[in-house]
C-alpha cells in the first residue's frame, strides 16, 4: 500500500498551492499525458518510423574476450550474406577518424568500436549494416576475430595489485579540466584518487568505542523499460540524430569533436524517455551511430536488445573499508574511509563519482577528524557510469551501518544517536562546505514518526522476528553547471518553453510548466515544453543528478520573470500607466486607476497587430564551485546545494529461510519546496523501490568478466510481491534561499538510505550485521546460523560475539 498524503492530513507540512486555479507551484496536478505513458501512446525514439527504406539497420559483433589484442577481423563471410550492405570495423572507424574515435566525459578512453584491443566481454568490434535488423543480427555471427589474449583485471584486487593494466596510459578528456594533471600517467589501473583530510584522525587513538568494517556493494544495472535506440544520418554536410539520451548537449559536443564539425552542423534530438536512471547518458550508442552514419553516408538505426543494454553501462561496484570512533561520552570523534569504485573498462564519470561521493563518505555528521581516500579503478568489465545516487548509496551503505553499530555499542538508540550528531543549518561538513537547506533532523524525525519508532515491534520468539531500522543520506548536487531557457509567449496567452531538459518519466515537463504558470499567472496546462533538440532548445549541462528542478527551474523562473516584465512594459506603453504601477494577475494586467484589466491576449495583439504572434525571452542560470584542494579535499563551496533524505523500516525476518519482509518503509526527502507534491512523492517512492532491489537481491553477477545473469530471466528486480506492506513517502521542506520558490531536486534523495535502513532493521530483529549487499535470504540465513552456532554453548549470553571492538576485519 502506498500512503498518499492528502492536504487534510494535519502532519502534512507541505504548503498548499498559492494559486489552485492555475495548477501552478505547489499544485498536485497530474503529469503531462499520464494516460499516454501508461498505454504506450507516447512516441519514444524507437517508435519513430525510420521513414524511408533507405534506413539501414546496425547489429554489433561483440568481443568474446575480457582483454585481448585484436590481430585481425574477417568480414568477407558476413558481407556475402544477402541483405548485408556493409561491415564496418573499429579499425575502419579509426582509419577514418583517427584518435577522435575515442570519447568520454572524464577520460578520452572509449573507442566507438574497439580497434586495437578489446577490454571487456561484449565490447563492439564490428558493425554489420543490413536492410533489416534480423539479417544484421544473424550476420554478426559470420564476423570472425583473431585475438591475442592479454592478462585480465577481474576485480578491485587485481586492479590494485596485479601486473595487468586495462589502459596503457591515462588520457584526460577536455570536459573536466581538473583532471589534466593525470595526462600520460602509465602502469596503473587507478585513474583517479580523491583525498579528504580534516582534523587529524591519527591523533584520535584513545577513542572509547570504535567500529570498523569492510563493506561491498555489487555492480547493478538500471533496467529502464525503454531500450536505448539511436538513429543517425547525414543531411547535406550535417550529422543529425534522434536518440535516447539524458545528455543531448553533451552528445552534440562529443559528435562535433569526433567528426570535427562546428556545433551548428550537429543536431541531436530526443523524445520522452521510457525511464533511464542514469543509463542513457554520455557515450552510449551515439558516437558509434554517428561515426558509422558519417563514414558510410547512410541513415543508420542502432537499437540495443535487452541483453545488449546490460553491456552498455552499470552501477559501480564499490568496496568501502571504513571506521567510526566515539569518545567516552559517545560523541563522534573520528571517521575514516578507504573507497574503491570499480569503473570497468572505460572511466565514464567514475572519477567524478569517486570525488563527489567520496567526500560524503563520513555521512552528514559533526565529526572533527575525518580522513578519506577514494579511488576509481579500471577493470576488464563493462563500463560503470552514473546510476541514481551517483555513487553515494555505496558510501551511505558504509556510514549508516557503522553509526548504527556504534550507537548500539554506546548503548544509545540508533535514531537518537544519529539525531544528536547530524549536521544542522550553518554547520560545516567534512569537506569544508557550509550546510544550508538540508534538514537531516527533520527528515529523520519524519520517518521515525511514520513507523512509530518510539513503540518498536515485538521482536518475537518463533520463526518470524521483527525489528526496525533507520538511516539518513546526504548528496551534493552536480556543480558547476549551466542551464538556459527560451520562452515564447503566444498571442493567445499560451506558452512554449524551450529547454534541453529531457522528460524521462521524472515529470520535468510538468513542473517546468508549473513554474512558468506561477510567474505568468496562466494555467500550467497552457504551457508546452518542447522536447530537447539542439537545433532549437538551448544548452543544458545534463538531465541528471537531480539538478533540473533547481538549475533549469531557475532558468525557467528567470525567463518567465523577464516575460512578465516585458508584458508589463508593453501594457505600460499601451495604457500610459507606468510599468511599476502594473501587476500581472490571472485576469490580466491591472494597475491603480485601471479597474478593467488588460488581457494578455490583447496586449500582444495590439503590439504586433497580428494574431498568432510570439514574444520571446531567453535566460541563463549558471552555478559555480570552488574546486576541492587536491590534498585535503577541502572546498569553501563544493556544491550549489545539498540533498537530505532518510528512511525508516519495520521488517520481519523469516529465520527458517532468511527472507526479509518489509512491513513498513517510510522515506523522506528535503526538497526545499515541492513544486508538485504528487510528483515528489512518486520520486521518493520510486527511488525507494529501486533501493529495495539493491538492498535485497539486485546484483550483476560476473564470472571471469562474463555476465552470468545479464538477462531479464535471471536479473532480479523488485516485483509487486516485494513491495513493503506499506510505503510512506514524506516531503520535508526547508526552502533553499536561491531555489526557484525555494525548491531543489528529488530524483536521487529517496534511494540513498534504503539499503542500510533495511540492514539496520535486520540487525535489530536478529542481531546480525551484514556488510555485503545484497542482503539475500541465503546470506541472512547463513549469518543467523553462524550467530546461533557461536552462541549455543553459552545460551544465557546477551550480546553477540561479533560485538567486539575491532569488528569483522
Amino acid at each position: 500500500m502506498l500512503d498518499q498524503r492528502s492536504s487534510e492530513n494535519p502532519a502534512d507540512n507541505t504548503t498548499s498551492p498559492a494559486s489552485p486555479g492555475l495548477s501552478a507551484v505547489g499544485s498536485r496536478r497530474r503529469r503531462v499525458d499520464p494516460a499516454g505513458r501508461v498505454r504506450g501512446r507516447v512516441t519514444h525514439v524507437g517508435d519513430v518510423d525510420p521513414g524511408s527504406t533507405s534506413t539501414a539497420h546496425v547489429a554489433l559483433h561483440r568481443s568474446t574476450r575480457p582483454h585481448a589484442r585484436i590481430r585481425s577481423v574477417e568480414v568477407d563471410e558476413a558481407l556475402a550474406i544477402d541483405g548485408v550492405q556493409a561491415v564496418v570495423t573499429g579499425a575502419d572507424l579509426y582509419a577514418a577518424l583517427g584518435e577522435h574515435v575515442l570519447t568520454g566525459p572524464a577520460f578520452q578512453d572509449q573507442p566507438a568500436m574497439a580497434y586495437d584491443r578489446v577490454r571487456y566481454v561484449g565490447e563492439p568490434v564490428a558493425a554489420v549494416i543490413a536492410t533489416d535488423l534480423a539479417t544484421a543480427r544473424a550476420a554478426t555471427e559470420s564476423v570472425h576475430v583473431d585475438y591475442e589474449d592479454l592478462e585480465a583485471v577481474y576485480d578491485v584486487d587485481d586492479a590494485l595489485t596485479g601486473r595487468a593494466f586495462v589502459h596503457d596510459e591515462l588520457r584526460p578528456s577536455a570536459v573536466f579540466g581538473d583532471l589534466r594533471h593525470l595526462n600520460g600517467v602509465r602502469d596503473t589501473n587507478v585513474n583517479y584518487e580523491f583525498r579528504l583530510a580534516r582534523g587529524d584522525t591519527d591523533a584520535v587513538e584513545t577513542a572509547a568505542t570504535g567500529v570498523q568494517r569492510r563493506f561491498w556493494c555489487p555492480p547493478t544495472h538500471h533496467v529502464p523499460m525503454e531500450l536505448p535506440c539511436t538513429v543517425a544520418w547525414v543531411e547535406g554536410n550535417r550529422l543529425e540524430m534522434l536518440t535516447t539520451t539524458q545528455t543531448p548537449s553533451y552528445v552534440r559536443q562529443t559528435v562535433a569533436d569526433m567528426l570535427r564539425l562546428p556545433l551548428s552542423d550537429v543536431q541531436v534530438r530526443t523524445r520522452p524517455l521510457g525511464g533511464s536512471f542514469g543509463s542513457k547518458m554520455y557515450d552510449r550508442l551515439e558516437p558509434l551511430a554517428a561515426a558509422i552514419a558519417w563514414v558510410l553516408r547512410r541513415k543508420v538505426r542502432v537499437v540495443a536488445s535487452r541483453e545488449e543494454a546490460f553491456l552498455l553501462t552499470t552501477r559501480h561496484g564499490a568496496r568501502v573499508t571504513s571506521a567510526m570512533r566515539a569518545d567516552a561520552d559517545g560523541d563522534l570523534v573520528a571517521a575514516t574511509a578507504d573507497i574503491i569504485y570499480d569503473t570497468g573498462a572505460y572511466a565514464d564519470v567514475g572519477p567524478r563519482i569517486t570525488g563527489k561521493s567520496g567526500m560524503v563518505a563520513s555521512g552528514p555528521y559533526r565529526i572533527p577528524n575525518v580522513s578519506i581516500r577514494s579511488r576509481c579503478v579500471y577493470s576488464n568489465k563493462p563500463s560503470a557510469g552514473p546510476f541514481r545516487g551517483f555513487g553515494v548509496p555505496q558510501v551511505t551503505w558504509s556510514h549508516e551501518s557503522l553509526i548504527d553499530e556504534l550507537a548500539r555499542r554506546t548503548g544509545e538508540d540508533p535514531y537518537a544517536y544519529r539525531r544528536r550528531h547530524l549536521l544542522r543549518e550553518g554547520d560545516v561538513a567534512a569537506m569544508g562546505t557550509v550546510m544550508h537547506s538540508a534538514d537531516f533532523t527533520g527528515c529523520l524525525d519524519a520517518v521515525a514518526e511514520a513507523v512509530d519508532w518510539a513503540n518498536p515491534p515485538e521482536r518475537g520468539e518463533g520463526r518470524w522476528r521483527r525489528g526496525q531500522g533507520i538511516a539518513v543520506g546526504v548528496k551534493a548536487v552536480l556543480t558547476p553547471t549551466v542551464s538556459n531557457a527560451v520562452l515564447q509567449l503566444n498571442q493567445d496567452a499560451s506558452a512554449s518553453l524551450l529547454i534541453s531538459t529531457v522528460e524521462m518519466g521524472q515529470g520535468s515537463d510538468t513542473i517546468m510548466a508549473q513554474i512558468v504558470a506561477e510567474v505568468l499567472r496562466i494555467d500550467s496546462h497552457r504551457v508546452h515544453v518542447v522536447p530537447a533538440d539542439t537545433d532549437v532548445t538551448p544548452y543544458d549541462t545534463i538531465t541528471a543528478g537531480s539538478r533540473s528542478t533547481y538549475h533549469t527551474g531557475n532558468a525557467v523562473r528567470l525567463v518567465a520573470e523577464q516575460m512578465r516584465e516585458r508584458l508589463l512594459a508593453l501594457a505600460a506603453e499601451q495604457s500610459g500607466v507606468p510599468a511599476g504601477e502594473l501587476r500581472l494577475t490571472e485576469e490580466g494586467i491591472s494597475g491603480s486607476g485601471h479597474p478593467e484589466p488588460l488581457r494578455v491576449e490583447d496586449v500582444v495583439l495590439r503590439h504586433f497587430r497580428a494574431r498568432g504572434t510570439t514574444l520571446t525571452c531567453a535566460s541563463n542560470f549558471t552555478t559555480d564551485w570552488v574546486p576541492y584542494d587536491r590534498n585535503t579535499g577541502q572546498s569553501a563551496k563544493v556544491t550549489e546545494h545539498w540533498f537530505a533524505g532518510a528512511v525508516a523500516v519495520r521488517a520481519a525476518v523469516d529465520t527458517w529461510t532468511g527472507r526479509i519482509r518489509l512491513e513498513h518503509l517510510a522515506v523522506s526527502g528535503d526538497v526545499g519546496k515541492a513544486i508538485n507534491p504528487f510528483l515528489v512523492e512518486q520520486q521518493l517512492s520510486g527511488a525507494a523501490i529501486t533501493g529495495i532491489g539493491h538492498a535485497l537481491f539486485d546484483e550483476l553477477v560476473l564470472d571471469q568478466g562474463q555476465f552470468v545473469n545479464g538477462t531479464l530471466l535471471d536479473y532480479q528486480l523488485p516485483s509487486l510481491g516485494d513491495m513493503p506492506d506499506r510505503l510512506t513517502p514524506i516531503i520535508v521542506e526547508s526552502p533553499h534561499r536561491t531555489g526557484p520558490f525555494g525548491a531543489k531536486g528529488v530524483g536521487e534523495t529517496g534511494i540513498l538510505a534504503v539499503a542500510p535502513a533495511i540492514a539496520n532493521a535486520l540487525r535489530d530483529a536478529v542481531g546480525v550485521r551484514l556488510t555485503e549487499l545484497p542482503l539475500t535470504a541465503e546470506r541472512v540465513l547463513n549469518a543467523i546460523e553462524r550467530k546461533r552456532a557461536e552462541e549455543s554453548p553459552q545460551e544465557s549470553r546477551q550480546q553477540s560475539p561479533q560485538e567486539s571492538q575491532e569488528g569483522n576485519q
Partner: protein
C-alpha cells in the same frame, strides 16, 4: 530461416514431425521463445499445433480430468469443473509465472519443456497423472512419474507430440497443498517447491510429495504416515525427502541453501495437509 508449419490435424502434425529433420512442436511458445532468444534452441522447423481442435478439448468426470495439450494453463487454474476434480493440480497451475504467461502457456508445452523448476509437474506426480502422446507410429501413454528422465530431458521421442494429460480425480477426502519458494525476487523462478497430498484409504494415511527445483528432475515420493501425529509425520516427510534433493547451484543460491528451502517447503506443505489446511 525459421519455417512455421501450421497443421490442421493431428495426423498432419505427426507426418510433419516424422518427415522433418529437427522439428519442434510449438504450443503457447512461452518457453520456446525464451530458449530461441537464449540461442539454446536452433530448430528451423516449428510445428504450431494450435489449429488442431481436439488438442483444446477438456473432459471432466468422476474419474478425473483429461485436458488436451493446447489447453491454456490459465484454464486449468480457473475452470470450476477442473478445480472440483483435481483441486491440488488447479491450485498448482495457478502458481505458474503470471496471468499473462498462464493465458498463453499450454498444458502440453509445460511438461514438454521438461524444466526441473516447473510448478505443475509436482502436483501431476503426486496425483499420478498420465501423458498421452502420438506419432506416425500410433498413440502411447506415459506415466508422468516416468516422464522426466534427466536435466531438461523427457521420455518423449523426437517425432512425438503430446496430445493430452489425464489427471485422476483427487479423492474427495484427500487434502492437498502446494508451496513455492523463491530465494531472490518474489516472482522469480522457484528455488524450491513442494506439492503435498494426504490420502486416506482403508484407514491407511499416505503422504505423497512432489518436489520441484530441488533436483535435475521433479521428484516424487510417498510415505505411510498412519497413526502419526502431525509433528512426527512432518519430520518423517522431511527425512524422506532430503536424500532425494540434489539442487543445482546457480545465482539463486547454493545447493545447500536450496536444500534448506526445500525442507521448509516440505515442512509447510506437509504440516498444512496434516492439519487439513488446504488454502493455496
Amino acid at each position: 530461416m525459421t519455417m512455421l508449419h501450421r497443421p490442421e490435424s493431428l495426423d498432419e502434425a505427426c507426418m510433419l514431425l516424422a518427415e522433418l529433420d529437427d522439428a519442434q512442436v510449438y504450443g503457447g511458445g512461452t518457453a520456446i521463445e525464451i530458449l530461441r532468444r537464449q540461442g539454446i534452441l536452433f530448430t528451423e522447423d516449428l510445428v504450431d499445433v494450435s489449429r488442431i481442435p481436439e488438442l483444446r478439448a477438456v473432459e471432466t468426470g468422476p474419474d478425473g480430468v483429461r485436458a488436451g495439450a493446447m489447453v491454456p494453463v490459465r484454464r486449468m487454474e480457473t475452470d470450476p469443473a477442473i478445480r472440483r476434480a483435481v483441486p491440488l493440480a488447479a491450485r498448482t497451475y495457478g502458481h505458474v509465472a503470471n496471468p499473462r504467461v498462464r493465458n498463453t502457456a499450454t498444458v502440453g508445452g509445460n511438461v514438454a519443456h521438461g524444466d526441473y523448476r516447473l510448478d505443475p509437474p509436482t502436483a501431476l506426480l503426486v496425483l499420478d497423472a498420465t501423458i498421452e502422446a502420438r506419432s506416425v507410429r500410433g498413440p502411447r501413454s506415459l506415466a508422468v512419474r516416468e516422464f522426466f528422465t534427466g536435466f531438461q530431458e523427457t521420455a518423449l521421442e523426437h517425432d512425438e507430440v503430446i496430445t493430452a494429460i489425464t489427471v485422476p480425480a483427487q479423492p474427495t477426502d484427500a487434502v492437498g497443498r502446494f508451496v513455492k519458494m523463491s530465494s531472490l525476487s518474489a516472482n522469480d523462478w522457484p528455488s524450491a517447491s513442494a506439492a503435498a497430498l494426504l490420502t486416506t484409504e482403508d484407514g491407511r494415511r499416505t503422504l505423497h510429495l512432489g518436489l520441484g527445483a530441488l533436483a535435475p528432475v521433479p521428484v516424487h515420493l510417498s510415505l505411510d504416515v498412519s497413526g502419526m501425529p502431525t509433528e512426527r509425520a512432518v519430520s518423517e516427510a522431511m527425512a524422506a525427502a532430503e536424500p532425494l534433493m540434489d539442487p543445482i547451484p546457480d545465482v539463486r543460491g547454493s545447493s545447500d541453501y536450496k536444500r534448506r528451502l526445500g525442507l521448509v517447503a516440505v515442512r509447510e506443505a506437509a504440516t498444512d495437509v496434516c492439519e487439513e489446511r488446504t488454502h493455496a
